[in-house]
Amino acid sequence: MAKTIMIIDDSASLRQVVSITLTGAGYEVLEACDGRDALAKLTGQKVHLMISDVNMPNMDGISFLKAVREVPAYRFTPVIMLTTEAGEEMKKAGQAAGAKAWVVKPFKPEILLTAVSKLILP
């Protein structure tokens, strides 16, 4: 059975590129346009990994990460931050909030897939 990955990004085109990359590798994909939308869509879903942007309206990626760690079902679900932010301080904030990897945009599909295959839960 295919693993499900949620993409959280306010850019529809970026979500599309990530979605194409993941579906091409055999994953199923759920999309959310920001942290708040993601939290709403996670309810009742079985998601094996999340890929989140940092800078988003309504709820940014770091706030979403903190919030999703409060949900028992997603306390240990791996989250990859996919962002244009490359600063060390922001990375530390992501790590402290529970991110497992930090990928700087623009990303190469094979790099993202490497990170996903390393982190996704069996």
């Binding site: 194409i20 244009t84 990928v103 990303f107 390393k118």
Partner: protein, 375 residues
């Protein structure tokens, strides 16, 4: 580094120029890059021009607020800013939206191309070629078996001819034996004739012997006739066997020719099939190479299409700052603190190039390599 009025002209021109050049390069000189570049560069230039021209006025306003209140030009500029900034923001948002839609369309098309290429060139063509090569291999084996069977038939025929030749030597011996029987009969006949003559010389005493001699003569006649008949039959059998053997030898020669021709035909057909299969295999390999290259190119294109996300964030930052500027002009225009403003603006940046441009530093294009950090 601030781009204030005391900065050299090239430093003041650098940020707008970079805003023009970056999207164009990122889009590979495609039209969305030109549109974004021109609009982005114009906006940055206008903002910088506005902030640099406003700087002495604001400083003047701080030092002599009473005089500032009395200048109608400042009010006029404020009104203009209030009117024009929402329009700039709207136009920028429109460009952003249109670019986003166009990029989505392009991404989808490239993704479809990639998928179709993968499907068209995936396992099917390779499998077809491999199946063809395997079929040819099996045909070669099967035809080899047929050739071997034909050769075995020829060997069997040769063996039969050899046996018939052996039969010929036996019939020759039979012929000799029947000839000897005929000779014995002739000699016996002569002997019986002599015995009859001697019996006649003995008159009454030889009458019984004459009867025996006559019977012996009759038997020798019958033996002679039988011997001749045997000789005739043996000769008939010999002729038939010889004719059959000659025919078999002629057939064997013809068979050799047919087998040689068949083998040559089979070899030619197999060679042609093999050559065609090799050609097909080579063409498939070439197609696979091209397909792989195309997949790589499309993959690279999908990476480059992500420029929209970066451009979107840069434009959002500009629009938010414009809105903030408009708001400040509306409520407290004299309280503008340039350094604080620039510092707050810098804090909104998400990309390294935004920060570099803001500091007036030379911006090197973003690396093509994805950066990944595992925690």
């Amino acid at each position: 580094m601030k781009t204030g009025p005391s900065s050299p002209k090239w430093v003041r021109l650098a940020p707008p120029l970079l805003c023009v050049v970056t999207p164009i390069l990122a889009a590979g000189f495609a039209w969305p890059g030109w549109v974004l570049g021109i609009i982005g560069g114009t906006l940055v230039w206008l903002i910088l021009a506005r902030s640099t021209s406003a700087l002495p006025e604001m400083e003047q306003a701080q030092h002599a607020p009473q005089e500032s209140d009395q200048q109608p030009d400042v009010t006029h500029v404020e009104r203009l800013a209030q009117a024009v900034i929402p329009i700039w923001a709207g136009q920028t948002a429109n460009v952003q939206r249109q670019t986003e839609e166009a990029i989505q369309g392009l991404t989808l098309r490239f993704a479809n191309m990639q998928r179709e290429l993968r499907e068209a060139m995936g396992a099917s063509s390779t499998e077809a070629t491999q199946t063809l090569l395997k079929t040819l291999e099996e045909c070669e084996i099967s035809l080899g078996v047929v050739s071997e069977a034909i050769l075995q038939t020829r060997t069997s025929r040769t063996r039969i001819v050899e046996r018939v030749a052996q039969l010929m030597s036996i019939t020759d011996q039979l012929h000799d034996m029947s000839t000897e029987v005929a000779d014995i009969a002739t000699q016996t006949n002569l002997l019986a004739l002599n015995a009859a003559i001697e019996a006649a010389h003995a008159r009454e005493l030889g009458k019984g012997f004459a009867v025996v001699a006559d019977e012996v003569r009759k038997l020798s006649d019958r033996s002679g006739n039988t011997g001749r008949m045997i000789t005739e039959q043996v000769e008939k059998v010999s002729r038939t066997i010889r004719a059959g053997m000659e025919e078999s030898q002629a057939f064997a020669l013809e068979d050799d020719k047919i087998i040689a021709r068949s083998e040559a035909t089979i070899r030619q057909v197999l060679d042609r099939f093999s050559s065609a299969a090799r050609g097909l295999s080579s063409a498939t390999d070439n197609l696979e190479t091209v397909n792989s290259q195309m997949q790589g190119e499309i993959s690279e294109t999908l990476v480059h299409l992500q420029f929209q996300d970066r451009i979107g964030q840069i434009l959002q930052s500009i629009v938010r700052d414009m809105e903030k500027f408009q708001n400040r002009l509306a409520h407290n225009p004299t309280a503008l603190e340039v350094d604080q403003w620039l510092s707050e603006l810098e804090n909104t940046y998400t990309t390294e190039e935004q920060k570099a441009i803001h500091r007036g530093e030379t911006f090197s294009s973003a690396s093509d390599e994805s950066e990944i950090t595992f925690f």
